[in-house]
Amino acid sequence: MSEIVVSSRIRLARNISGYRFLGKMTRHQRQSLEAKIRDTILSAQLSPQTLYVDLEAAPEIDRQLLVERHLISKQHAAGEGARGVAIAENETLSIMVNEEDHLRIQVLRSGLQLEEAWEQINAVDDKLEARLDFAFHPRFGYLTACPTNVGTGIRVSVMLHLPALKLTGEIEKVFRAAKDLHLAVRGLYGEGTEATGDFYQISNQITLGHTEEEIISDFKHGVIPKIIDFEHHARRTLLNERTAALDDKVFRSLGILRSARLLTSEEVMFLLSHLRMGINLGRVKDVDMRTVNELLLLTQPAHLQKLQGRKLEGDQRRAARADFVRQRLNGN
């Protein structure tokens, strides 16, 4: 199951009482609120090492790096004005400051760990709430800039790897089932992103009228097991009834990864996705999962450039990516 569920994520949206929401704040107010929140987070000592990044000052490559690591949203990287992110607890906790709301607390865990994630984020929320007065209304709950987040302010999501459903053409079933259950299906980097590499993020859309525990429980015991079963079933079908087609897809991908001279980040995601499935199904035995998971991250544009220690454009980047992948998969 953990091969299909790549990661679990919970996020809470909070605003500070007595301050306007971000859309109606002056530049100066934004700056002073950011400073206040930053100081509060650091003094709360959420973890032995808390890193705060000033995103307004950070270069684009650093912001891109944080997006690739799922620590900030694309929106936050591209945003304007005083804003930042606090990163703690070994990158499982990140707190975006001045994104759409004053605070967006996020816990990210590998595999299916929704309950653990909730325990962690609930404790962080309590610690911060002891120091900050969150905007709250008895009827509407935690007040957010967008009413679609009001109430619990919670977004629960899981990242699923569904290559078989894509190959058998049944991925549409998943979209329909999700829609019926008021769940959103998005790509690898959340809102407004495409499903590259057969990775899909499923998240709740309803935040009002249910408790946080109910939302998490419905998620964990409702739709996710169904989708996982779907994928398992599709994989078994491919393995038993379309073995040659499956192997062709897997080994063709491995072949390209081991030989290509130019690779775009999009193409490499799909190739690695097939390789990942091939390893899960025992078709590929001489590449281990850790290598694939590392490659998935390190072939991303910002990570690649940081590794190489220099800025790369166009073909240079595509060549560097291909070189890196060949090196890791051929052992030379």
């Binding site: 009482s17 309950e115 007065d133 009228g209 015991h221």
Partner: protein, 165 residues
């Protein structure tokens, strides 16, 4: 001019064309109502009536569209444009218009039943306790079905605590 029918002052003047001939009648309000079936003239002149009618309707429209939050100044129209509120007070300022929107966005959910900040704890209504137990029992059922007995035990203890207190 006197009413054709009675001795009162005529205030309703009718002109009928019948078979090409013009017939004039002069009646008071009561006789006009009685004989011609005309409604008794309202004491409000038509021009006033008209203005009031229009005002009564457009006044409401104008009020709706220009409803703003006193604190941040955002209008309902402005909110509808980009989907974001300006401050925490907007929720109460626009409560009426917000309810159907929330109903749609949250599939019927219109009241918060989840976590409450500790400092607001005392504001929790007593009814919540009952809801808690029902919810815990549902969760317990689900945990047992999923064979997550550790979680089931935790929930069972929580239920015991809630029902004992």
């Amino acid at each position: 001019m006197k009413c054709d029918n009675c001795k009162n002052q005529a205030s309703v003047h009718l002109t009928e064309i019948r078979n090409g001939k013009k017939i004039e009648k002069h009646l008071c309000e009561q006789c006009a109502a009685q004989l011609e079936g005309l409604p008794i003239k309202s004491h409000t002149p038509i021009n006033e009536l008209l203005t009031n009618f229009v005002l009564a309707h457009s006044g409401q429209l104008a009020r709706e569209q220009s409803a703003t939050c006193e604190v941040c100044g955002i209008s309902w129209a402005e909110f509808r444009q980009n989907g974001l509120f300006g401050c925490e007070h907007d929720y109460t300022a626009f409560e009426k218009d917000l309810t159907p929107l929330l109903h749609r966005a949250h599939a019927g959910g219109t009241h918060h039943v989840g976590k409450v900040p500790v400092r607001r704890g005392s504001a929790m209504p007593p009814a919540k306790k009952q809801v808690d137990v029902a919810r815990l029992q549902r969760e317990l059922q689900r945990a047992v079905e999923a064979e997550d007995y550790e979680r089931a035990a935790k929930l069972r203890d929580q239920i015991r605590q809630a029902t004992a207190g």
